[in-house]
């Protein structure tokens, strides 16, 4: 079964032969199409990218940036906070991303049921968190998670539980961070996955149910294989998002307590903007780029087999 039928647009990928035929013949206008974007990229980002890379090999000596070779990168290797921030990111990648993708899948599955009423209202309710402005997000979570009198602890109190120190305890602070990221982005991913589900032809479900397949077997044999590219998309974007995590932990905990919720990008922001050490901040940034590159590559390799077969 090819994955082509997944797309919602009626078009089908052109056969390889047709592509090859089409491409060499038209060469005149390619830069007319790609040109504006290319010019904008080169114009606006060639210098900043180069400058930040260069900066990662410098250090401030009495206010003057001085070339120091790989010194900043070596410093990173011996920086416990940097390693801790990477560890935190790893934890998020292992726990938060899969948790969110699974929740989003379940949610998408429910929202895709034809018997469900008010489907667009449900969808918007779940999508809402991802459109919240950061400043409101920060306020709201502080009120929810306050140790004393916060809404969550009040509800726990009604259930007879002890109040939890959500933001000041290293373990609970991580839990809070995971919960708040999941809160913000599950609906967003569910909406994307839902689109994938809707593109699976109804006949296939009917055929499966005639064969007597239960929901789990239907999922394993029909839904999962066809949803693979969408899941890949969600996990790649979530992985990049996690590796660049900044907003959520900045507003919730500023990376604390004891760096339990520190992430590399928040750390480099602090190094650069609080401590004015831009050389080291750039070195961390490029280390993050390297990690994202490797992880994205691996994910495509791992999940993207179907893609390769298709091409």
């Amino acid at each position: 079964m090819s994955t082509d039928s997944l797309t919602s647009s009626p078009s089908v990928a052109a056969p390889e032969a047709a592509l090859r035929r089409a491409r060499p013949r038209v060469r005149i206008t390619h830069w007319a199409f790609a040109g504006p974007a290319a010019a904008l990229f080169v114009f606006f980002f060639a210098y900043p990218l180069g400058a930040s890379l260069y900066q990662s090999f410098t250090a401030d000596r009495a206010g003057v940036p001085t070339w120091v070779g790989f010194e900043q990168y070596q410093r990173m290797l011996h920086d416990p906070v940097f390693w801790k921030s990477l560890g935190n990111t790893g934890l998020l990648l292992v726990i938060q991303v899969p948790l969110m993708i699974v929740l989003a899948l379940v949610l998408a599955g429910i929202l895709n049921q034809s018997w469900l009423r008010f489907r667009s209202s449900w969808r918007i309710a779940y999508f809402l968190p991802s459109v919240t402005m950061l400043v409101a997000y920060a306020m709201v979570f502080k009120v929810l998670l306050k140790t004393d009198g916060g809404m969550v602890n009040q509800v726990l109190g009604w259930l007879g539980a002890q109040p939890v120190d959500w933001l000041n305890n290293p373990v609970w602070a991580r839990v809070s961070l995971i919960a708040s990221i999941t809160w913000r982005w599950t609906g967003y991913n569910a909406v994307i996955l839902l689109a994938g589900l809707q593109a699976i032809p109804k006949e296939q479900y009917e055929a499966a149910s005639i064969d007597g397949a239960g929901p789990i077997r239907t999922f394993a044999t029909i839904v999962a294989p066809q949803l693979r590219p969408v899941i890949l998309f969600c996990s790649v974007t979530s992985t990049i998002g996690t590796l660049q995590l900044f907003d959520e932990n900045l507003v919730l905990t500023r990376g604390g307590p004891d760096n339990a919720t520190m992430t590399p990008v928040l750390y480099l922001y602090k190094i650069g903007f609080d401590q004015l050490d831009f050389g080291y901040a750039s070195a961390i940034a490029w280390a993050v780029v390297l990690i994202i590159g490797v992880l994205s590559f691996l994910q495509f390799r791992f999940f993207g087999n179907a893609e390769r077969e298709k091409r």
Partner: protein, 445 residues
């Protein structure tokens, strides 16, 4: 036909892009190398005129907006443009401007510790005001003045407001608990009073946010130091251990209400969970605006001392005005700064309207400052702070203050909530700060 034209224009765009990038790269190197050039000094000869832009925030921006028309009236042809850039991200904006060498306005509001860090990283980012304002030194609070000068004593910023610290306390709670505020002379007395209050009323003594604590550095400054002394790490000196031990005692005796964030600190006080707040004078503005219903229930006393007869105050907060080296109108900027900061009437009006407590000392003998304050049941609360302000010990910050503060916050949380030993926690913090900053630790600690 159309394709040929497109091709040419794309080529052109590419060339433009490339040359711009090269030019910018060259420009970047040039701005990076400005360190050799000395900071410019304000000329007192230049004509006053044109537009002056000021970046400020919150009530301070309001104050400037209120005063600007008066200055414009006195100096026809001058336009003062005050921009409220918000507090939370003000330094992102200023830092980017300093680092890139462009985009800054004429006048910048900066807080004391941040000014010290900017002066160490961007020694040429600000105008040298020594010739212009050096003679005013005697009129300003000495501790605040120190935050606007570099280590050689050159002046780069003029003090605006200061945060002399005192002890705000609930008179009704003290009465209920049978504690006489006048009996609190030392921190030991304070702890004893706290135990009595807790036993009699069930209330805690003070609120602390251990993840972003300002009490420990305040207790340090009370003893005449912050995190560094003579450029060396000084967070495990005997004085520092004393300060941390006070916090540990308060924590161990269950006298501390832990909260997170500004709103929670305010809420805890508003709800009467705590009997005292040892903090700076600007807390007064929060009390009167957010807790109008608690009028007549607060009073102010000096901070408890470390030993009988010792210093009974410290400093927390306060900002300065500086002139950016990027300005083209330093003379007018300087004139406006003097108009705002070295004028008793304007300074008093900013205390009255916006709650900014002046670092300009002549303003502190104004009858508004020395007179009774309605919110405090007629107590002369501002006079208490004005008297305390004189004895704020000047301290050194260095450019590594915020690096040290992060590490210290963890030590504080470890001691107060993690049960760690003050000396051990501070020793380890000192090691961390030393290795993060490449500085030595003060010998004998």
């Amino acid at each position: 036909m159309s394709t040929g034209r497109t091709r040419r224009s794309v080529l052109l765009a590419g060339i433009v892009a490339l040359t711009t990038v090269t030019a910018l790269a060259a420009g970047g190197c040039a701005t990076g190398g400005t360190a050799a050039k000395p900071a410019p000094a304000v000329s007192t000869q230049d004509q006053v005129g044109g537009t002056v832009t000021v970046w400020s925030w919150d009530v301070a921006a309001k104050a400037l907006k209120r005063l600007a028309p008066e200055f414009e009236k006195q100096h026809p042809g001058v336009k003062i443009d005050v921009v409220d850039i918000g507090y939370d991200n003000a330094y992102d904006k200023i830092t980017v401007g300093l680092k890139s060498g462009s985009g800054l306005p004429d006048i910048l509001q900066v807080e004391g510790p941040k000014m010290q860090s900017y002066l160490s990283s961007f020694p040429n980012g600000f105008y040298d005001l020594t010739a212009l304002a050096g003679k005013d030194k005697g009129d300003f609070n000495a501790a605040a003045w120190r935050t606007g000068t570099d280590d050689s004593g050159k002046v780069f910023a003029l003090p605006w407001d200061i945060g002399p610290c005192g002890l705000f306390y609930r008179t009704d709670v003290f009465k209920d608990a049978g504690v006489d505020p006048a009996s609190i002379k030392t921190w030991d007395d304070y702890v004893a009073a706290g135990e009595q209050i807790k036993a009699k009323t069930g209330k805690k003594l003070l609120v602390i946010d251990p993840t972003k604590d300002s009490t420990f550095p305040t207790l340090l400054q009370q003893q005449g130091q912050r995190f560094f002394v003579d450029g060396k790490v000084a967070v495990n000196t005997p004085r520092a251990v004393k300060a941390m031990t006070v916090l540990k005692t308060l924590a161990d005796k269950g006298l501390v209400d832990y909260e997170k964030g500004w709103d929670a600190l305010v809420a805890a006080t508003k709800d009467g969970k705590v009997a005292t707040t040892p903090t700076a004078v600007w807390w007064s503005g929060t009390l009167s605006s957010e807790m109008a219903e608690l009028k007549d229930k607060f009073a102010v006393a000096p901070l408890p001392a470390f030993e009988p007869g010792g210093t009974q105050t410290s400093n927390d907060g306060g900002s300065l005005l500086s002139i950016s080296a990027q300005t083209k109108n330093s003379a007018t900027a300087a004139a406006f700064m003097r108009f705002v900061l070295t004028d008793t009437g304007n300074q008093v009006s900013m205390l009255k309207n916006e709650g900014l407590f002046p670092a300009y000392m002549p303003a502190l003998s104004d009858s508004y400052v020395t007179g009774p304050q309605d919110y405090y049941g007629g107590q002369t609360a501002f006079k208490t702070f004005a008297d305390l302000a004189k004895s704020i010990p000047p301290v050194e910050y260095t450019g590594d203050n915020s690096k040290a503060a992060d590490i210290i916050d963890q030590a504080t949380a470890g001691v107060m909530q993690g049960g760690k030993d003050p000396k051990a926690a501070l020793d380890s913090a000192a090691q961390q700060i030393a290795s993060a900053t490449g500085r030595q630790i003060v010998p004998g600690s």
